[in-house]
């Protein structure tokens, strides 16, 4: 292999209490990609993200990000956690939430610097939420919160963005806005995004990663009804886009 892959998983296995969630997963992602992670609930999508972030340690195999162990590469990653695990009544303003994205091992002691505040406001502008800066996080709608948390992930100008269901709780128009925003970050930022609605996403992403204990990488062109049916165990409606779709299966054998 000539260039070092941005993300490299080598035969990674992980399970909770002896129940395997991912087994023997290998995956390489090049810089500048926009990937969607799809698969059934419990299939290991969030676990895969957390392994890449170094929040979980592989029980077997090896994860490298930017050629280094994940914990050493965290400063270059941005992360949007799964919707709705935060305390919805926590007393914090939107700007304060986004500023958390500027924290570092030694950054953010005492009062925030003007540079940090400006970077946070810029991140809010990127998600068209600058007008919310002074509002309480608890007062926002689900879609607004999601935008603010994306801004938090963007606040430190990451080179790799990992998003766990960024469009959950967002209305369809807002969903297109969010996806357009992520697409606009290409190719400067590599994006990995867990999603449920493949039909929306396939117009934006260039690869689809199917995650269901194992992992299979597909160019978007291969994504079709058969793949979705294999993945979820039943057919699902999918909006077709202008690109030509060919037959293919998510997992062979």
């Amino acid at each position: 292999m000539a260039a070092v892959a941005l993300i490299a998983l080598d035969r990674v296995s992980f399970g909770y209490n002896g129940h395997p969630v991912l087994s023997e997963v290998s995956l390489e992602v090049a810089a500048g990609e926009f990937l969607a992670l799809v698969g059934p609930n419990g299939g290991g999508k969030t676990t895969l993200l957390k392994l890449i972030l170094g929040l979980l340690m592989p029980q077997q195999g090896r994860v490298l990000v930017f050629g280094r162990p994940p914990a050493k590469a965290r400063g270059r990653m941005g992360y949007l956690p799964q919707h709705a695990y935060l305390d919805p009544s926590f007393p914090v303003t939107v700007l304060e939430v986004v500023l958390m994205g500027r924290l570092g091992p030694r950054a953010g002691l005492g009062l925030w610097s003007r540079g940090d505040r400006q970077a946070a406001l810029q991140a809010l502008e990127q998600v068209q939420a600058a007008h919310l800066a002074g509002r309480g996080f608890a007062e926002l709608s689900g879609g607004q919160r999601q935008r603010v948390l994306i801004a938090r992930a963007l606040a430190a100008s990451p080179e790799l963005l990992l998003l766990d269901e960024p469009t959950a709780g967002v209305d369809p128009r807002g969903e297109e806005d969010v996806l357009g925003l992520l697409a606009a970050l290409q190719p400067r930022v590599t994006v990995l995004m867990v999603t449920h609605d493949l039909h929306f996403v396939s117009a934006y992403v260039n690869q689809v990663v199917c995650v269901n204990r194992r992992v299979a990488l597909h160019p978007t062109q291969e994504v079709d009804d058969q793949l979705i049916a294999d993945l979820y165990g039943r057919p699902m409606r999918m909006v077709r886009h202008d690109q030509h779709l060919e037959g293919g299966e998510c997992f062979h054998g």
């Binding site: 972030l53 935060l86 007393p91 914090v92 304060e96 958390m100 091992p105 002691l109 005492g110 938090r152």
Partner: protein, 280 residues
């Protein structure tokens, strides 16, 4: 009330009591707000009750070894910090039986204190004032120690506010940003321990938990930023300690208990008011 004001201008012990209440309120409002938003009042309760062990040991050593300088408050600070460390490590490491272990620390700390007090020669009149506080017994030396603890807690809370806020709001994300979440969680418990000691001089270790949490819980209804809750909680706590002291003076009631009942009544009123307001 007029009687209280007249007595206040005459008696130094009453002025010291008032000052003790105001000093304790500073840390109470600031650290209490963290305790409320991070939902760790149960951990604060365990730390508070463990303090009796330290107070009992210090008292025992002071009497039996003749170490007159060893005031129970020093024992309280040491025991509170040790309990904070143990409680914190249990919370971080032993997720399965966490509540069982915390509850045990709670009771064992008290039991150790009771044993030391029983073994100490002389009358054990001290026990009641450790448990329920005796704000009228505060000495100028106590006040200096309280001021020191206050300044320490407030300075640490100010310098690390952004980190503590992030760890309370989203521990996982903070960790990803290179913030040592576990360390800051332990720091927060250590600050809680110092605050518990401060408040225990006012209302005693059994009643601490209400005074630590109720002002911040009331303030949280009226503010949407953490520092605003802190500032408001400081004022509310000052009102409770001062009001409780004044109300208890005339009829000669225990000040600590009156302060707590006052805080509980205020919380109930505010909650009921909000409930009615929302239905209207």
């Amino acid at each position: 009330m007029a009687e209280f004001l007249a007595a206040l201008s005459q008696h130094a012990f009453l002025q010291q009591a008032l000052l003790a209440g105001l000093l304790a309120s500073l840390a109470c409002g600031v650290i209490g707000a963290y305790v409320v938003v991070r939902r760790i009042s149960y951990l604060a309760g365990a730390i508070a009750h463990s303090v009796l062990g330290g107070m009992g040991l210090a008292r025992y050593l002071a009497v039996t070894q003749g170490w007159a300088w060893l005031h129970p408050l020093y024992g309280a600070v040491a025991a509170a910090l040790a309990a904070a460390l143990v409680v914190g490590l249990v919370t971080l490491k032993a997720r399965q039986r966490e509540d069982t272990i915390i509850g045990a620390i709670w009771a064992v700390g008290m039991a150790v204190g009771v044993l030391f007090i029983a073994a100490t020669p002389g009358y054990d009149v001290e026990l009641m004032s450790y448990l329920f506080g005796n704000i009228l017994m505060v000495t100028p030396a106590n006040l200096w120690l309280m001021l020191g603890l206050d300044l320490l807690a407030l300075a640490v809370a100010f310098v690390f506010h952004n980190q503590l806020l992030a760890v309370c709001f989203d521990e996982e994300f903070a960790r990803l940003r290179g913030v040592n979440s576990n360390l800051y969680f332990l720091l927060l418990l250590a600050l809680t321990a110092l605050t518990v000691v401060l408040l225990s001089t006012v209302v005693g270790i059994i009643l601490v938990i209400a005074l630590l949490t109720l002002p911040a819980a009331i303030a949280a209804n009226y503010a949407r930023r953490l520092w605003q809750i802190m500032a408001l909680a400081v004022l509310i706590s000052m009102a409770f300690t001062t009001g409780g002291l004044a109300l208890s003076y005339g009829p000669d009631l225990p000040a600590g208990a009156v302060i707590i009942v006052l805080a509980g009544a205020a919380y109930l009123l505010v909650s009921a008011g909000r409930w009615l307001f929302r239905r209207a």
